[in-house]
Amino acid sequence: MHNLLAFLTKYYHWFIFLFLEVISGVMLFRYNSYQGSVWVSSANSVVGKVYEWESGLTQFFSLVERNEALTRRNLLLEQQVQYFQEAMADAREDSVQSLQKMMDHLGNYTFIPAKVISNSIDRPDNLITIDRGSKDGVEVDMGVACGTGIVGVVYLTGDHYSVVIPLLNTQSRISCAIRKKGYYGYVTWPGGSSVIAYVDDIPRHAKFKVGEWVETSGYSSIFPRGVLIGKIIDIDDSADGLSYRLKINLSTDFSRLRDVCVITEKDFAERLRLQEAALDSLALQRNRN
């Protein structure tokens, strides 16, 4: 007994060491199995606050440049509006009605503006932190987009901050379609350059050209239809030769991401519930067989 006590007092720090390593191991593996780690990530409010201060500071220094970019964009959009109005008037369509149709389509979605407070683009598993959390209505699996196109999908939410898995993450898979052609595939990013991504599973019989646009398909409830993803710059065969693999140039510049929108669908909760119910019943059936 005495020896045991002597042994414990002499080597007790090794037990502390083992204990702390076990805690680290638990954190390491819990995080990979989804959720539960809001405390040890940048969705934690203290870390979020620090990042917010920092981004507020850096934002201030880039204001001039951003203003210029916004003005340019505004001009461009105004020209487009002008052009489309004229085109519409030419077509002699009932313009009120078509506007109504457009609003109805987008009316299902609401947008929560958010600011990016931390971002990385040079790792295989990049993550983005934004300054809106569950108290602002952000939920896991909602889509995130910015003015120039798609950004990613919400992965974790804290009270006031959330972590987003951007397109630039080897684990992200976002379903997409070729604009106006309607062939479906999904976008993945294998690492490397932050402006290049790949579209897989485009069927062999599809007809399209380099230079056409890829956009979200609207099949999943995460994104509305028609959010820009990128432009096709190369067409290649997939590894198994059964489909096409497209190289695309992303329309979003992830290295300068600042203002984004979280897209929420009004009946998001209902759709999610329905999907879960469907999965449950499938599992039930499988068990029966």
Binding site: H13, F17, S37, V163
Partner: protein, 165 residues
């Protein structure tokens, strides 16, 4: 003791913030990241309570993890460094040392301190990148990251050490 703890705490906060806000953004040649906070684990004096070293290191790791969204990676590696530091310091002591000798260039001599720092930083980087990349592991990239980060970290540690008294 109190004063020492306060001083250590301020170094702790400064290193965490420096890592989170500045150093984590640096990726030289796509692989080398300066991991300056390991410096915190190197400078514990001889006969500092071992449990305290472990706790300091663990919490430093947790905070760095929280800022870089890598839960468990830095904390596991830094705790390992924390448990090895007292034994390695013992190895590099000069002949005529005080009982509570500090771990710094002025007390150990440059050669000894440099070897100590190089050892601990290498152990840290080996462990850190092993855990960070274990899901899709690539030997060559792993080695590049380890070697690059060890060099970059040491390059940062020596000037800071020369400023410190």
């Amino acid at each position: 003791m109190m004063l020492d703890t306060l001083r250590r705490l301020s170094v702790f906060i400064i290193l965490c913030l420096a890592q989170a806000l500045v150093l984590n953004r640096i990726h030289l040649f796509d692989c080398a990241i300066p991991l300056l906070y390991v410096y915190f684990a190197i400078i514990f004096p001889r006969n500092y309570p071992k449990w305290a070293i472990l706790l300091w290191c663990f919490f430093m790791g947790v905070i760095v993890d929280a800022f870089s969204n890598t839960p468990g990676v830095a904390s596991a590696s830094l705790t390992l460094v924390g448990v090895l530091q007292p034994y390695l310091l013992e190895l590099f002591l000069p002949r005529d040392f005080d009982f509570n000798v500090k771990s710094s260039v002025s007390t150990l001599g440059f050669g000894n301190f440099a070897s100590l720092a190089a050892f601990l930083v290498s152990i840290y980087c080996l462990m850190f990148f092993l855990l960070e990349q274990y899901s899709f592991f690539n030997w060559l990239y792993w080695l590049e990251c380890v070697v690059g980060s060890v060099l970059l970290t040491l390059v940062l540690i020596f000037p800071i050490e020369s400023i410190r008294k």
